[in-house]
């Protein structure tokens, strides 16, 4: 094999570290998707576009002279209300309906978001400079931007905080009750409509955090939302709904896969590889289940 990555072992370390740090970020987005999927039974194709919108909020702060890292606090607050408004406008009409309707409706939202972001922020690839510098490891043969380490830690902190919040708070309990049985929760006095709105808001807020982190670690562009949706979808179907450690692990796995695919297949096939992986995972699961005469449902 004449691939560069197999000749230079340090590149493997580089790709692995990059992949894991990136994967934690993906896991955060996937957690939001698992949350809304589990609670409201909708698949949100606009997930990735919410992420990108969150990133643009941080980028706007950067343009205004504020350090973009503050975006991880400001962006989720704004995105919570964006998510809440989106729920009140559209999503509340697709909850409890055929999943295909939610897919198509959120696809429509995704198109609107993409185009609006294209108008407001322009079609250029942008990045918010965090100026955190880089860490050199192993005799300067592995470079690690500090912003990536920062983003991984922030993601972890938010994920832990959210888990505790879901376990302890009243709203968290209501959300979990609604996820288990919406009708029973309603009978017992849970305002499910509020719970749904809050869930979608929390999901959007998670996307906002992830977006702010992406704005300083990766790049932003109005049309790159869909790959993030697909990544989070993939992580969720591998990990299952509501299994947080598995979400984290499969997120890191996906990050690793992507970095290695990047080196081995070439950067131009990176997104293609992600989408093909989705197809392969689904087909693999389908064959595995069909042995038991079951199917993905």
């Amino acid at each position: 094999m004449d691939f560069l990555i197999f000749q230079v072992p340090m590149l493997m370390v580089q790709a692995s570290l990059d992949g894991i740090l990136l994967g934690i970020l993906f896991a955060l987005i996937a957690y939001g998707m698992a949350l809304q999927w589990g609670v409201m039974n909708i698949i949100n194709i606009a997930q990735g576009d919410l992420v990108i919108l969150g990133g643009y909020i941080a980028y706007t702060m950067y343009l205004a002279g504020i350090h973009p890292a503050w975006g991880v606090i400001v962006s989720p607050i704004i995105m919570y209300f964006v998510g809440w408004a989106l729920y009140k406008l559209v999503i509340n009409k697709v909850v409890d309906r055929d999943l295909f309707i939610s897919i198509l409706a959120t696809f429509g939202i995704a198109i609107v978001f993409q185009q609006l972001m294209n108008f407001i922020f322009g079609a250029d690839v942008v990045v918010a400079q965090s100026e955190y510098g880089t860490t050199m490891l192993f005799d300067n043969s592995v470079t690690l931007p500090n912003s990536k380490i920062f983003s991984a830690f922030v993601s972890l902190a938010y994920a832990v905080a959210l888990v505790i919040y879901m376990k302890k708070s009243k709203l968290g309990r209501a959300i979990r009750a609604t996820a288990q049985n919406a009708r029973a929760a309603k009978i017992l006095g849970v305002d499910t409509e509020k719970v749904y709105a809050a869930t979608f808001g929390i999901n959007a807020a998670l996307c906002g955090i992830a977006g702010a982190l992406i704005s300083i670690t990766l790049t932003l562009h109005p049309y790159v939302g869909l790959p993030y949706t697909v990544r989070s979808f993939m992580i969720v179907i591998v990990a299952g709904l509501g299994n947080l450690p598995a979400v984290a692990v499969s997120g890191m796995g996906l990050g690793l896969f992507e970095e290695f695919a990047d080196y081995i297949l070439g950067t131009e096939f990176r997104i293609g590889a992600v989408f093909m992986l989705l197809v392969f995972i689904l087909v693999y699961r389908r064959f595995k289940l069909s042995k038991k005469r079951e199917y993905l449902k």
Binding site: I101, I111, V112, E268, L278, V283
Partner: protein
């Protein structure tokens, strides 16, 4: 097959005459008319799985793009080295003679119909085992992956695109190009309609409907559902490939993600048109496509730049408020026109359960 009624005969002959006369009547709109034919073909064949079989595919764009690349590649590759053609970009180092052009596009369209159908057959067993939204997401992934991968393959132009052979310069009539593509697409449309109409009168459609309504029960009744699902998908792929081939020649330039595997436009359009007209009806997708095309062409130029916003809003509104489409709405309103007999007493006595 049942006998064609006299009323239908008048309708069909009227439509065919209208179709044949259209490029002469509206000679400035030949390109739009070709688009319309292609859109109707796409909507009608999407409806075969989306509406009749209940497998909502976002991935039929895969076959459309495949057909587009195949037609152009065959048309060039039959006479000239393909790699050099794409490398030279738009420059006219190689020129097709008239005979070569038509031979090439003829063979190309044939290939563009057969290969996508075979591809659908080959991947059908794996993909069609998924159900519901998993199928939808999986096909969405397939369509986008195809676009990304095609954008990295050198021989078909990679990221810089593929210029399809220009219409032969020896034909001096300036109308000829438009007419040629219009009539090709019209023929494909008529073929597709006859085929779909035939399916609508056959047992095949009943099986597809059984799969949509309850696949497990259909299987329990002894229907080999997988076989029928694959055949249904192959029919769609066949016509999607043809449609793609024609569009490639008409547009004259193929880009991997913006023209061929254009999930953001064509891929959504075909779903939207079928839903707009009414899923699971013969005329629904045709009416939906026509309405959508008029709406699009009428509105696009006035709201330039905002068309995607309008498209997104349109999708949301249609999906949320009119999931049954135009035909579904008509059916609700005038059930007796659709051959449904409703006992008034029975209807009134039914209490709606919620």
């Amino acid at each position: 097959m049942e006998k064609v009624k006299q009323k239908d005969l008048i309708l069909y002959s009227g439509l065919i005459i209208l179709g044949l006369a259209a490029p002469y009547l509206f000679s400035a709109f030949k390109v739009q008319l070709t688009y319309l034919c292609v859109l109707i073909v796409l909507a009608m064949t999407w409806n075969l799985q989306g509406g009749e079989m209940g497998y909502n595919s976002f991935g039929n764009i895969l076959f459309y793009g495949l057909g587009m690349y195949l037609t152009a590649s065959v048309q060039v590759g039959m006479f000239f080295p393909l790699a050099e053609w794409t490398e030279s970009g738009g420059e006219k180092t190689f020129v097709h003679t008239t005979a070569q052009y038509f031979q090439g596009i003829g063979v190309g369209l044939l290939v563009a119909a057969i290969i996508p159908a075979l591809v659908a057959g080959a991947i059908g067993y794996a993909i069609l085992g998924l159900r519901g939204h998993y199928f939808a997401i999986c096909t969405l992934g397939l369509g986008i992956a195809a676009g990304e991968i095609a954008g990295g393959i050198e021989i078909i132009g990679a990221g810089q695109g593929f210029t399809t052979p220009p219409f032969p310069a020896e034909i001096v009539d300036p109308e000829a190009r438009g007419k040629f593509f219009y009539f090709t697409s019209f023929i494909v449309l008529v073929l597709a309609f006859i085929f779909v109409k035939y399916i609508y009168g056959s047992r095949f459609r009943l099986i597809l409907n059984a799969i949509r309504d309850n696949e497990d029960k259909a299987e329990a009744m002894g229907i080999q559902t997988m076989k029928y699902k694959i055949v249904g998908w192959m029919v769609s792929a066949f016509f999607c490939g043809l449609a793609g081939g024609i569009m490639g020649g008409l547009i004259g330039y193929i880009d991997s993600t913006d023209v061929a595997f254009d999930g953001r436009e064509m891929g959504v359009f075909m779903v939207l048109m079928a839903i707009l007209g009414g899923k699971g009806t013969l005329w629904g997708p045709i009416i939906g496509a026509t309405l959508f095309h008029f709406f699009k062409e009428g509105l696009w130029t006035f709201i330039l730049g905002w068309q995607y916003v309008a498209l997104g809003v349109l999708i949301v509104v249609i999906v949320i408020y009119f999931p049954e489409g135009l035909m579904g709405w008509l059916r609700e309103k005038y059930p007796e026109r659709f051959g449904e007999v409703i006992d008034e007493k029975d209807r009134k006595s039914q209490v709606e359960l919620k």
